[in-house]
Amino acid sequence: MTKTVLTGVLGAAVLALGASTASAATLDDVKAKGFVQCGVSQGLPGFSNPDADGEWSGMDVDLCRGIAAAIFGDATAVKFTPLSAKERFTALQSGEVDVLSRNTTWTMSRDTQLGLNFAGVNYYDGQGFMIRTDMNINSALELSGASICTNTGTTTELNVADYFRANNMEYELVAFEKADEVVAAYDAGRCDVYTTDQSGLYAQRLKLTDPGAHKVLPEIISKEPLGPVVRQGDDQWFNIIKWVHNATLNAEELGVTMDNVEEMKESDNPAIRRLLGTEGEFGTDIGLDNDWAAKAIAAIGNYGEIFDRNVGPDTELAIGRGVNALWSQGGLQYAPPIR
């Protein structure tokens, strides 16, 4: 809370007194300081979560590591700033972080009013509801009158409002600052329902006293395309983030993995040769080395590997690929070609 106010005030102060932060070339700054400063969540398993030793892991974290690898060839040249939902945009606007990779929903107002740009969608999510199994409720339409716990300052508040209004249902919203307190209050029985993005529900369920006693209802009430965000006005940096993500998608489509990336450089397939920098000057065009994508993939793998490692069926979260499968396999993940 104190930190939030501080960030807000400092953000305002930086905007007030600082030199223009947005126009400087972020890539030069990053190269000069030797690492990427990456804004992540305060702990969301599968997306950005620190372990007991303070090592961060997750899909959003891997994207940052991929960016660092593409720039420096070193996936550890990245520092993480945990941000609450309400601190995140100010932190990015004021230059506290270089890129915001924090399960952030891409909406029009965020894209157009805040001086920010969304550089892609690394996870297609949707908002869902979690409820105790013994309540015997099987559909979100039976939730009229329920108390609902969620995080403040997220799109989830607005989605719930729309959904309940559209279906003529009453509800009581209890909105907390931090996800941990939402989980604690839901666990203590303050609310009947916990709502957030479905991936988040699966992740937070692991923190409950008895995860087995809770279930996620089938309804998805919103579109939540989550992706990395950068400041507007620095197209080079915007391109780098966008294309590191696209490279992981293209790599999966072309069968390039973390393990075979070196031998694939000698592949006969021109698409693979362009991706890995054997052909063409695509890297230098965005201010990096030509083997930028090869370095990123060697560090974090292709999109499929990232997904399976962090949230896939073999992890605790056990989320299927669903809409996050490649377009060629019936999903929505699609990257423009490198040519």
Partner: protein, 400 residues
């Protein structure tokens, strides 16, 4: 030699100094310079901020206050419809939520603080030690921890909605809050309100008259009890005359949460209890200091004049102690009001939570919203200070 020179200079005429070396002129120049620099800094800062915001493509201005908010708020003292109400309305709802917890908190913190402060001076060993333990316990644990203890600690002990504690007419208590019966006033209820206002006015008149008569004749009139009787009696009379125009909407258990009645959300209760008990510990120490600050001779003199112990406290000790108590008490009131912003940790929808939190996040307009929030707290604090200063002047020592 030097001494005589100086002596002569002072005695003869004001020493001739350059205008720039004249301390008064100099002082004025420095102050004007400082003011100019400050004004310029503020001006340049705001200009720079607006420029930077424009360059960064961030909206400026306060037009967002007219946009529909579209999110729900769990406690609202005025009509709030999430589908229609604007961010401006959210601001008012948040402000009222902050004010109500602050006002009720100040009220109870003052009462508890005075009781504990007096108890600490008691000759009774147990009362004395209990009060000391209270002060040391509550004063030395961070407030946020208090809030979490009351919220998560107490909340976990309360039953689920379907197993509520049922107090019959007094309502239901469960982990969704306290569901109190809601009074529904029938026709003619306004007369009761008028009766109450009239009773207060008459009581005030009687107390003035009694004071005047005592000053002139020395006779004592029981103004307090008469006033109390009027204030309770007149509205009661009106209530009975109008045929008891009051019914109660008693909450009924069922569904996810009880329906009907008034709801006091657990976030409010936890925050109120935490703020009250925490601030009361500080007020207790201030009260103790105030009473100890009155010289013992005052009590002795009062007793020598024949005043009883109660009169001694009421007429001699307390009025003098108040002069010491009021200024630090003001600080505690301001602290309580500002500390209420910790509400955000437990989802109580105060100004910081719904306006500087949710609204900021939905709109992303940090400079405007942080500025409005700061100005609001500043205004509340200055108003509180102004009132307390006025009261302090009233109770200050009048020298004759």
């Amino acid at each position: 030699m030097a001494v005589t020179d100086m002596g002569r200079g002072v005695a003869d005429a004001p020493p001739k100094v350059a205008l720039l070396n004249n301390p008064r002129v100099r002082g004025a120049i420095y102050q004007v310079l400082l003011a100019v620099v400050l004004v310029y800094l503020v001006y340049a800062g705001i200009g720079n901020m607006l420029g930077n915001m424009e360059r960064a493509g961030i909206s400026t201005g306060f037009g967002f206050l007219d946009n529909t908010a579209g999110f729900a708020i769990s406690q609202s003292l005025i009509d709030y419809d999430q589908g229609v109400s604007t961010y401006g309305r959210v601001f008012v709802v948040g402000l009222l939520n902050t004010l109500i917890v602050a006002v009720i908190g100040i009220f109870f913190a003052t009462i508890i603080g005075f009781l504990v402060g007096v108890a600490r001076l008691s000759n009774n060993w147990i009362v004395n030690r209990l009060a000391t333990a209270y002060v040391e316990f509550f004063r030395n644990i961070p407030l946020l921890l208090h809030i979490f203890i009351w919220y998560f600690g107490v909340l976990r002990l309360l039953p689920q909605a379907r197993d509520s504690f049922d107090f019959g007419f007094l309502g239901l208590l469960n982990n969704r809050g306290y569901f109190a019966p809601k009074p529904i006033w029938g026709e003619g209820a306004m007369l009761i309100l008028y009766a109450l206002i009239a009773a207060i006015a008459i009581a005030w008149g009687i107390s003035r008259w009694a004071h005047k008569r005592q000053m002139e004749t020395g006779q004592i009139f029981p103004a307090f009890w008469t006033g109390l009787g009027l204030i309770i009696g007149l509205p009661l009379l009106a209530f009975l005359v109008m045929g008891a125009p009051l019914s109660w909407d008693i909450p009924v258990a069922g569904g996810f949460r009880p329906s009907g009645g008034m709801t006091v959300i657990p976030e409010f209760l936890a925050l109120l209890v935490a703020l009250t008990t925490y601030t009361a510990a500080f007020i207790a120490e201030i009260v103790r200091a105030g009473i100890l600050g009155v010289s013992k001779g005052q009590s002795e003199a009062a007793h020598a004049l024949g005043l009883r112990q109660g009169q001694n406290l009421r007429l001699v000790i307390i009025p003098q102690a108040l002069r010491i108590i009021i200024p630090p008490l003001t600080s505690q009131y301001l602290n309580l009001t500002k500390n209420s912003s910790l509400a955000v940790a437990i989802a109580y929808p105060d100004l910081v939570s719904v306006f500087q939190g949710t609204t900021l996040n939905q709109t992303g307009l940090a400079p405007q919203i942080v500025a409005i929030t700061m100005l609001t707290y500043l205004t509340i604090s200055l108003l509180t200070s102004a009132f307390m200063n006025w009261y302090n002047n009233r109770v200050a020592l009048v020298e004759r």
